[in-house]
């Protein structure tokens, strides 16, 4: 070990000062170099040296103290999803690290860029069942894009640079770095931080083969009934403009997965709605009628496809994806166009003919008309009876005009919010899509607000999910962040209840959930709020929430046994979608 804090070394012809810094300080300097401004975390024994160093870096790094490490991961996800940047999490070893698992798994399946730093016991204690020792590397291997255990401080700059490069490039995802306590304390020469832009075994951007782009364009140009399905890939590739240019030139009706919502505005004339189990009528039925299916940055999740052997069998499939492993995974592609859609879409746009497809588009609109009359209009505009979830979202739309970021939890309210919320802007719909993590919304909304401070952030949450991460009200209280919390309380675990009603003869097995006085709980955290159950008071209550200074909790009592329709029952084809 060097004794001096700084020593002189010769590099080439110039003499430079090489600092000697602790692993912790090198880590923080690296984070600043990576442009990190916000960290969501929770201290503990094995990460104390990093927290000690952080004490001197609070001018550059804002640390948000969460109330549970799971909250840190979801907040980092919310931050990443609203800002397009990498979310950063700190947690300690053992339980601190295992509490991250749900959020990491969520980030993995929803391709969210996130770097988690966990403390670990001293290297010489590894494998001895030391206090708060958990093999977090092996636990997180299946749910991380990459992970690495650092046992020597000299590894930190390179590993951190690699972590950020891997997390944010290609198909993004979560990365975990586990740093043993000795490496946090150890002092080593620090010659500056170099960002990583190449790893020889890692190809984030597959080469675009123009022959496939040409084949795709030829198919599209011949198509009479082309149909675009788009997912989060459009957002992750920052390719919203390129996407819009493509669909507008080719005149193709386009439907979205819930992760892709907002890539083009809800009101865009070619936006025909949502795909999947609770998606819109037209897009589901016409999936089995189109002649060319163009999937862009989506992965044919089972909630989107329904029964696979009856899914778009008549259609030629063009699949644009950055991840070669997605091609042919669920749906066989006629033409695979692998590559970053920011790169492939303009190439495709250049080759497609300008068209309108008016008749085909009107077919979607005629299905819309049926869905609207039978389902949407009564859901959004009831005049009597209890409040519906749909009308609450509808009234919220009228007040926010589609400019707010809507963060949803998981369940009925999520499907209703995704179906009916209006999105004028990209990165406005933040939800747990692939993993379906209840408890996601409250912490994710906190992170989303930190990632987009000029936006109104509304967390729409069910009474069940809210109770899963309710402690993050403490994070709101302490950080002073402005998040509007809207609980749609139907006094049930609604989605499971709906399935029990439809498929299990109304055997309501453990879906009847009681709740505390949410407003009182919020007030306990010094967060203002109110409860509303009358239609006459709804709009005023929403206005009060949106206009409040700082966070606000609005609990809306909605009808207990409302079902989300349309619905593609499990095991059914998308064209067997039920309107009731």
């Amino acid at each position: 070990m060097q004794q001096k804090d700084a020593l002189l070394t010769k590099t080439n012809e110039t003499t430079v000062m090489v600092e000697e810094l602790s692993g912790s300080e090198i880590l923080l300097k690296g984070l600043i170099e990576e442009g990190v401004d916000t960290i969501f975390g929770y201290p503990g024994g094995a990460i104390m040296p990093i927290y000690d160093a952080l004490y001197d870096y609070t001018d550059h790094l804002k640390h948000i103290l969460v109330r549970h490490e799971q909250g840190a991961t979801h907040a980092a996800q919310g931050y990443a999803r609203s800002s397009g940047r990498v979310g950063v999490v700190f947690a300690t070893s053992g339980p601190g690290a295992t509490n991250l698992i749900t959020g990491i798994a969520d980030a993995q399946i929803d391709s969210t860029p996130m770097v988690c730093i966990t403390g670990q016991v001293f290297a010489h204690l590894l494998g001895t069942d030391a206090f708060q020792e958990t093999d977090v590397i092996n636990i997180t291997t299946p749910i991380t894009k990459w992970n690495y255990q650092v046992t020597d401080a000299s590894e930190i700059p390179e590993v951190l640079a690699k972590a950020f490069h891997i997390a944010k490039t290609g198909r993004p995802g979560p990365v975990l770095i586990d740093i043993t306590k000795n490496a946090q304390i150890q002092k080593v020469e620090f010659e500056g931080y170099k960002k990583c832009d190449h790893i020889r075994s890692y190809r984030p951007y597959p080469i675009v083969r123009t022959s496939y782009v040409e084949q795709a364009a030829a198919l599209i140009n011949q198509a009479k009934k082309p149909f675009v399905l788009f997912g989060q890939g459009v957002l992750l590739g920052n390719a919203e403009k390129e996407f819009k240019a493509f669909v507008e030139k080719a005149g193709i009706p386009s439907a979205w997965t819930i992760m892709g919502a907002g890539a083009i505005a809800t009101d865009h004339p070619l936006n025909v709605g949502m795909l999947g189990m609770h998606g819109n009528y037209g897009p589901n039925v016409l999936t089995n009628e189109c002649d060319v299916l163009i999937a862009i940055g989506m992965r044919f999740d089972d909630r989107v496809t329904g029964r696979l052997d009856k899914y778009a069998k008549q259609a030629k499939v063009i699949h644009l994806d950055i991840d070669p492993a997605e091609i042919d995974k669920n749906v066989k592609a006629t033409v695979p166009v692998w590559g970053d859609c920011k790169q492939t879409l303009p190439l495709l746009t250049a080759l497609v003919e300008e068209k309108k497809h008016t008749e085909w588009l009107s077919k979607f609109r005629s299905f819309d008309k049926i869905e609207n009359e039978q389902l949407i209009h009564p859901e959004l505009n009831p005049t009597e009876g209890e409040l519906t979830m749909g009308e609450v979202i509808h009234q919220l739309n009228l007040l926010t005009n589609g400019d707010a970021i809507i963060v949803t939890d998981v369940g009925q309210h999520q499907m209703i919010a995704c179906r009916y919320a209006k999105f004028n802007h990209t990165r406005s719909n933040i939800t747990s899509g692939g993993l379906g993590t209840m408890g996601f919304a409250l912490p994710a909304a906190i992170g989303a607000k930190f990632g987009a401070q000029d936006k109104t952030v509304v967390a729409v949450i069910g009474d069940g999910g809210f109770q899963m991460t309710i402690q993050e009200l403490g994070t709101i209280m302490q950080s002073g962040i402005d998040v509007k919390i809207m609980i749609l309380n139907n006094q049930f675990l609604g989605m499971v209840r709906q399935w029990q009603e439809l498929f299990n003869d109304r055997r309501y097995s453990f879906v009847d959930i009681t709740s505390p006085d949410f407003v009182a709980v919020a007030k306990g955290y010094y967060i203002d709020g109110q409860k509303v159950s009358e239609r006459a008071n709804l709009v005023d209550a929403l206005k009060t929430m949106l206009n409040s200074k700082g966070s606000y909790l609005l609990e809306v009592m909605v009808t207990k046994e409302n079902n989300v329709f349309p619905m593609v029952p499990q095991g059914c084809s998308v064209s067997e979608i039920r309107l009731k």
């Binding site: 590397i137 020889r200 075994s201 080469i207 492993a325 091609i327």
Partner: protein, 200 residues
């Protein structure tokens, strides 16, 4: 899914960086899909610092292709090939421990061992260890025979395999290091080139 494909033996060759934890990252891709490996071998490759996994399993080509893509997606995996047995040259090594007194007394055993091309590794007064290398059927056949002569212990190594059509990894690695993406992201270049390669 697509037309029902028959399961057969496939050989997956994975070129990787040499890093702690990678074995687990590779193994869980199979275990997550409840795929059982027939054989797994890790070794250095012709390129220093590059590791090579040889994995054998019996599955449909469709499943193998998807797994190969998932393997190649791992950050520290450089390249994955999958081949049918016709496309590779492969060997497995087996050791057999037999009581020396039986070997010494029975002429037929000696003949057998010659017939199977077994070599003596160790001779002790109490036992003798033979080795053979060859295909699974060959090593298995000798086990069956030796059972009747008091086979004490038997062990067989994982399969090592060379891809007939491969030009090795040196050129490929240069491509990787040049920062120039090649067209190697998806296709298995060797699978359909059986007729072009020299066969023993």
């Amino acid at each position: 899914m697509e037309a029902n494909q028959d399961k057969k033996e496939f050989n997956i060759t994975v070129y990787t960086e040499n890093q702690v934890g990678l074995l687990n990252r590779i193994a869980i891709i199979f275990s997550r899909r409840k795929l059982n490996l027939d054989s797994l071998n890790t070794s250095p490759s012709e390129v220093e610092s590059i590791h090579r996994f040889n994995i054998v399993l019996t599955e449909t080509e469709d499943v193998i292709r998807k797994v190969a893509r998932q393997l190649e997606k791992q950050v520290e995996v450089l390249k994955v090939y999958f081949n049918a047995n016709e496309d590779i040259i492969w060997q497995e090594l087996a050791l057999y421990k037999v009581p020396t007194e039986i070997i010494a007394e029975k002429v037929s055993v000696e003949r057998l061992l010659r017939q199977y091309g077994a070599r003596v590794v160790v001779i002790r007064s109490d036992y003798t260890v033979f080795e053979t290398t060859g295909h699974r059927e060959e090593t298995d056949a000798l086990v069956e025979v030796l059972q009747q002569y008091g086979l004490i212990e038997f062990v067989r190594s994982a399969r090592v395999a060379i891809i007939k059509a491969s030009d090795g990894f040196h050129a490929k690695l240069r491509e990787f290091e040049r920062l120039e993406p090649g067209e190697h992201a998806v296709e298995n270049e060797y699978l359909n080139k059986g007729e072009k390669v020299f066969t023993m």
